[in-house]
């Protein structure tokens, strides 16, 4: 299906934590096409952003023809997005990327770190009610924490102190996890991939992007013996296929 490119107004915006912003955008056709794992290329429709790149942002929620994105302030581009108010314009390209594959299993673990939260949160809302889902989320401190089942922070300001991967082995053991979905910073994903080897594991990768639509090969990651594009071949990959050493 073809990718859309539009400029739309922000219909709602709030600040769930300092340094984060949730932007709501209404577009029934686009919203209907979003599934968990997909992302959009977004940028603020502002003069000082005219010559700057779009930034990949996951679909965070979809509700009645509206899509939400949760953006963390990191650099130039995300700062501009976070400054948007209702009524301001957003330029977008999407929906982009593949989706988390859904398997018919019972016990599912979601592991997110930092801005890996939004796509897994969306995924959680779409998993069949019959499955038992545990969402483990970690961040640097309490202000990087959003609703989930188990929390940990590096500075101990919320949940248990440490890395999200510290908790994974016991969670897996205690809950007979059959399937893992993950998204977050690469070192976390790398560590996680080692830990859950043997269990089906789908990971959504982050990569710096230029085009977002598969033409520039800038977002490539080592998968098997070749480089695959996160924007077009991903962002979701089977963790077993990724060459974690080269990443």
């Amino acid at each position: 299906m073809s990718v859309c490119q539009k400029t739309l107004p922000v219909t709602g915006a709030d600040t769930p934590q300092p340094g984060y912003r949730v932007l709501w955008i209404e577009d029934h056709e686009l919203a209907a096409r979003c599934v968990p794992g997909m992302f959009f290329e977004l940028k603020a429709d502002r003069r000082d952003q005219a010559n700057r790149l779009y930034k990949p942002i996951s679909v965070y929620q979809v509700r009645e023809g509206r899509m939400a994105f949760m953006v963390k302030e990191v650099g130039e581009g995300s700062k501009a997005l976070c400054s948007l108010q209702p009524g301001d314009g957003v330029r977008l390209i999407g929906p982009l990327g593949n989706a988390f594959p859904l398997l018919n299993v019972q016990n599912i673990l979601l592991v997110s770190g930092g801005v890996g939260y939004p796509p897994l949160s969306f995924l959680k809302s779409c998993l069949p009610p019959s499955s038992r889902v545990i969402h483990l989320h970690g961040g640097a401190s309490a202000k990087d924490i959003f609703p989930c089942d188990i929390v940990c922070t590096e500075d101990g300001s919320a949940g248990s102190k440490g890395r999200v991967t510290d908790l994974v082995p016991s969670v897996i053991a205690e809950n007979r996890i059959q399937l893992v979905y993950s998204c977050g910073p690469q070192p976390m994903l790398k560590a996680l991939a080692r830990m859950v080897e043997g269990i089906p594991h789908f990971v959504s990768l982050e990569a710096y992007m230029a085009c977002g639509i598969g033409v520039c090969y800038g977002c490539s990651v080592p998968v098997g013996n070749e480089f695959k594009r996160v924007c077009k071949d991903g962002p979701v990959f089977n963790a077993a296929d990724i060459d974690w050493e080269k990443l």
């Binding site: 073809s2 990718v3 859309c4 490119q5 940028k43 952003q49 005219a50 010559n51 700057r52 790149l53 779009y54 130039e76 581009g77 390209i93 990569a207 710096y208 992007m209 230029a210 085009c211 639509i213 598969g214 033409v215 520039c216 090969y217 800038g218 977002c219 490539s220 990651v221 080592p222 013996n225 070749e226 480089f227 080269k246 990443l247």
Partner: protein, 300 residues
């Protein structure tokens, strides 16, 4: 007749706008009609397939883009087997194939092979990619090598033969003259400048390969200077690029001596860049009752 019609050697261009190799794909035709382009330039193809460079490969600086793609491509066989037929079916505009070899012989073999394929209007010989260790680079900076290579290649084809030059040279004039003497029918410039960025927090290079290629807005003054210098040094028409975002940028290049311009990095920030460029250019020419050829090289 259109005011903005132009020529690049043997190829007519209307509009006088194309795309920078490696920054474009037919995916963009989801966003605008291909006839806004005067021709289509493919991503550079190499003889063998290339996996490309280690990651990360991209970083956006204050004023441009760093990249170290490393010519990831399926190789000549893959290109001819899959990409070329697809492009042939899809394109209603001339196709210029960009290619690069690791030796002069390989360049020639590739051209011979491509000559047998239908649907190719011309070639862009990439002797200037800064992101591959052996390929391209030694060629693009040495006038003698460029002369010899161009001479061999020009014997093998009657189609448009553009040589794409590196800006990372002591004398663009000498390299341009070498390509002209060797039989190139036009020049393309600039490829990316040397670039680098470091994460000051950690001391880590933003790009896996450390030194990489720099393009976009911040290179425009350099690209303009080199376009002007090359245009003064040779009679060949020039396909200019480097930081062109708007029709005003494009006008600067036409005045400096470009016959055709290409949009590269700008596509990534504005997928309508080509359309807006062509519209703006036509508006400018109409308002002043000028033809494009009245302004090419007319900087004063």
């Amino acid at each position: 007749m259109s005011r903005s019609k132009s020529k690049l050697g043997k190829l007519d261009f209307d509009p006088p706008v194309t795309v920078a190799s490696g920054t474009f794909g037919t995916e963009y035709f989801d966003f605008f009609d291909q006839r806004w382009l005067g021709a289509y330039v493919s991503k550079t193809v190499t003889f063998e397939p290339k996996a490309g460079n280690p990651v990360p490969r991209l970083y956006e600086t204050e004023a441009g883009l760093l990249n170290a793609i490393g010519l990831q491509n399926p190789g000549l066989k893959g290109f001819i087997g899959e990409e070329l037929p697809r492009l042939r079916d899809l394109l209603q505009i001339p196709l210029i194939v960009s290619f690069s070899g690791s030796t002069p012989t390989e360049f020639c073999q590739m051209l011979e092979c491509l000559e047998k394929q239908p649907g190719i209007a011309g070639y862009e010989v990439n002797v200037s990619c800064p992101n591959v260790e052996k390929e391209g680079l030694p060629f693009g900076i040495d006038p003698d090598v460029v002369f010899n290579l161009t001479r061999e290649l020009s014997k093998l084809t009657d189609k448009e033969l553009t040589v794409k030059l590196s800006p990372n040279v002591s004398s663009i004039e000498q390299v341009a003259q070498a390509a002209e003497a060797g039989g190139a029918t036009s020049l393309a410039l600039i490829n990316t400048l040397w670039g680098m960025a470091v994460d000051w927090r950690t001391g880590k290079s933003r790009i896996g390969r450390k030194v990489c290629g720099y393009s976009g807005m911040g290179v425009k003054p350099v690209a303009l200077a080199l376009t002007y210098k090359a245009a003064q040094a040779v009679k060949l028409p020039i396909l200019a690029m480097g930081g062109i975002h708007t029709w005003r940028d494009a006008l600067e290049f036409f005045y400096a001596g470009a016959s055709v311009v290409a949009v590269g990095t700008a596509m990534f920030s504005n997928s309508q860049a080509v359309v807006e460029l062509v519209q703006g250019l036509n508006g400018y020419l109409e308002e002043r009752n000028l033809r494009l050829k009245d302004i090419i090289g007319k900087v004063s």
